[in-house]
Every structure is written in C-alpha cells, then in structure tokens.
Amino acid sequence: MSSPVSRGFRHLRRPSAGQEGRVPPGQYVTQGFPVLSAGPTPRTPLPEWTFSIRQDGDTLTSWTWQEFQRLPAATVTADIHCVTRWTKLDTVWRGVSMDTLLEHVEHDDPYVLAFCDGGYTSNLPVKDVTGGQAWVAFDYGGQPLESEHGGPARLLVPHLYFWKSAKWVRGLELRARDEPGFWESHGYHIYGDPWKEQRYAGD
C-alpha cells in the first residue's frame, strides 16, 4: 500500500558522507540519545543493588555496588544501533567487562539470559558476551549513567541491536538453551546482528 509522499518531509537522521561504512543497513544516524523503555524506570537504591550470576536457581556469585566498583573497569567507545533504526556513533561508556565477571564462575553453559529490575530480559550466546564484546556499564559520556538510560548499570553489547543491551541489569542466568527474552518473545530476532539486518524473528 503506497502512501503519497509528504512534500518536503525529510527525516532528521540521515547518514552523512564518510559514515556509510559505520552505519548498518536501514539505519539512520542520530545526534540525540533517544530514551526508549518497555516500562517504568526502576529506582533501586545503590545499597540494595547487586549483580549476580545464577544457574539453575542458584546464585554462583554476586557483587554489591561497592564490590562492583572495585572491579577493573574499562572505557569503551562504541557505535550503537537500535532496531527502531537510529544509530549513534562514538558513544563513550565505562564499565566492567563481562569477561571479568564470568571469570569468577566455572560453567559450560552456552547461553545467558540477562535479567533486570522491572522484569526485562534479553538472551545472548556466551560467546557474544565474552572476548571483549560486552560490559556492564555504569558511566555514559563521563557521567554516572542516568536512570532513564539504564542507570545505575546496564548491559552494553554494541555489536548486536541495542535492545540486547538490557537497562537496569541485575545479573545473568547461565542457560543450556537459548531462550528468548522480552523482545525476542514478541517477534524480534533471537540473535539480532544489525549488519545482517536481523530485526525480526525469521530474518
């Protein structure tokens, strides 16, 4: 069904010269940082915050906020790609590498399910959150991560569509099977590679 073109309407976010190699198919570059949520912003006080790694209902290891802040952290610059078609280049974060966190557990599960305050989940293969590809980020742009953007801490997995980078993350569940998280259960791709334009289930 074709719609008449709205004379003179152009969308804000167009890839500019020199950016093409960095912008996955179907994406537009944005200067802002859109806030998208599936639910209300949780407000867990830091003294109550923990990050846990769980398996089969057991907590294998867990960090309080203070303990988490003492872990080695890295500054990460990444381009991020939202399935709603905006891409933001050169975002700067600070966070603890998932490699650092998973070092503390012995396991051979191939998948994780990130779980969050508010109930959001996203599923990922372990090989996509290791090897320097994923962090639990607590700073954005040199400042503590704002709650509307997922603070105090969110997952950061820039090589996949940004819905995988779960906001308000509180831990990972190790899983033997790849079980769909929130958006994966509602029509979105189980893996989500923006360079293969894997937006929807079956792409």
Binding site: L36, S37, V83, T84, W163, W183, S185, H186, A201
Partner: protein, 87 residues
Amino acid sequence: MVRLDGNAIGGLLHEVFGADMTDAEATCATCGATSTVAEAAVYLRGPGTVVRCRTCSGVLMVISQIRGVNCVDVRGLTALDPRQGAR
C-alpha cells in the same frame, strides 16, 4: 517523554481490534485490577508498544509491528470489555 496513556494508541488499538478500545475495561492478569484502557500506562516508540497496569505495572498488552503485521500479546489481560451503549 516515553510514557503516555491508552489515548495515544487509540488508532493502533482500532487497527488491532477493529474498534475504538479507548473506553474498554481491561482486567489485569497480574493483580486483578480493572481500569479503562485510556488510563493505562503506555510505553511507545520502542521496538514495540507496551501497555501496563497502572496499579501494579504488570504488562497488559504488547503490540509489535513485524514486517507490517501487528503482533499482539494479550496474555497480561484476563478480560478486555468494550463498553456498550449508544456511544
């Protein structure tokens, strides 16, 4: 601002259900509260539209538009009753 209410998705709900549902009564599967769809908490502009119960924040509905098709999950509702009447 990312959080609106059911009024904002009146058109989408009409597409999905074939009728204007803004004044329909929704019963939450999580907490049992009944409320008008127009007053539900709606989260827009994400990968999909999430409609939540104002009492308990439980998910009432999720509507994703996948390749031009509306995919609707109403497992969060135990009832959705349009109001009858001349209007």
